[in-house]
Subunit: 207 residues, 2 copies
Amino acid sequence: MSTSERRTQEQRSAETRKLLLAATVRSLMEVGYAKTTTAGIARRAGVSRGAQTHHFPDKMALIVSATEEMFDNFATGLERLAADLREGPLTYDGFFDAVWADILEGEWFYSSLEIIVAARGDAELRGHLAPLILDLHERFELTWSHTFVAADPQIVTARVALNLMMNVFRGMAVQAVLRRDEEYFREMLAALKAILAIHVRPVRPGE
Amino acid sequence: MSTSERRTQEQRSAETRKLLLAATVRSLMEVGYAKTTTAGIARRAGVSRGAQTHHFPDKMALIVSATEEMFDNFATGLERLAADLREGPLTYDGFFDAVWADILEGEWFYSSLEIIVAARGDAELRGHLAPLILDLHERFELTWSHTFVAADPQIVTARVALNLMMNVFRGMAVQAVLRRDEEYFREMLAALKAILAIHVRPVRPGE
DNA sequence: ATTTAGAAACAGACCAGCTGGTTTTTCTGT
DNA sequence: ACAGAAAAACCAGCTGGTCTGTTTCTAAAT
């Protein structure tokens, strides 16, 4: 071979693991949890099944690791969008649009949905995922709390308002599976923006 | 046997079919789509696998029929709640509480979530379900439109407001799989009620 | 600087278990 | 007697985990 002669063991491992985790997420995205097989993941990763079992002893380890990485990526992306809103490049409307686009078009939401739904009927998987989700939500809420301020915190705090936004998006994304109705989504998004604008506004640099 | 001597053929068929459909929904609820098997359904229904294949040629037919029934049940329940709101027995707050409880504690939401998520990676299933979902949403929207009136339809129509409610509930129910945090849900529900109260109110009998 | 033993990474065959669909047989109602 | 309903055996296909063999790297010994 000419592309990568003499990689260190650590490099070989890291690359293979990375390929496998990415392939796992891709498989979840493309065919869903039920049809995601270890053989399919190995094929997608361009790696033998032996290599896969070497790095991840069983399917559960693969799924959990992939989820971990996936959650981290999404949270980081959201933090970046929030920073863009605080620091100027993104408008209030643009922020909502970007978050929604990220959920609907990114590979994050549907992959995590597959896993969450699978976890409902699988106590072991649930046990592994619950702490990951808690961390994720904490990162979300931390982001909201220093990116938005409430008009009247007595009624609706920034934290609650943005959690509502996320829940609306989750619900819409679930609907989108069987009904990708752009007009409906535009309408919902516009209403959501208008309604939340009454209760929260983004902080701006000087504040 | 003594419980049901001499049933007519039609009765026997109808009862077995009913048992199978109920068992299908129960299986989706209890173990999820991935672990729902035709054998498991027959066992839950207390019926032989032979009887199952006689009435439903394949798994798809069983799933689709069960979904059909399930959707109808849920829509009917929602229409009843809306009627109770219009005609007195249910308050504005009570209506929201009841819909949320129905979603979180009923067997409808999670069963349909299983199927919707499964449909994402299965074109045939998606084809069967899409029209059912369209019907369901139309029933919802019809219900909203003659149960609520908007304060200012220019900004948010009753239809849009109640769709937002449903989407928030969907999102919360997805979260609830891994994080059943009563306090969080109470907070969200209170905020949702407060926010929507600004934009819509229920119609009352005389109007 | 080479050699070489050992460990880690990787490849692929193998197998037991389960799933869904088909087929054959028995039973129940008309 | 006949047909629809129900039961149960059967089977081909796939899945995930294990097992065995091979290649690639590392580092100690020479």
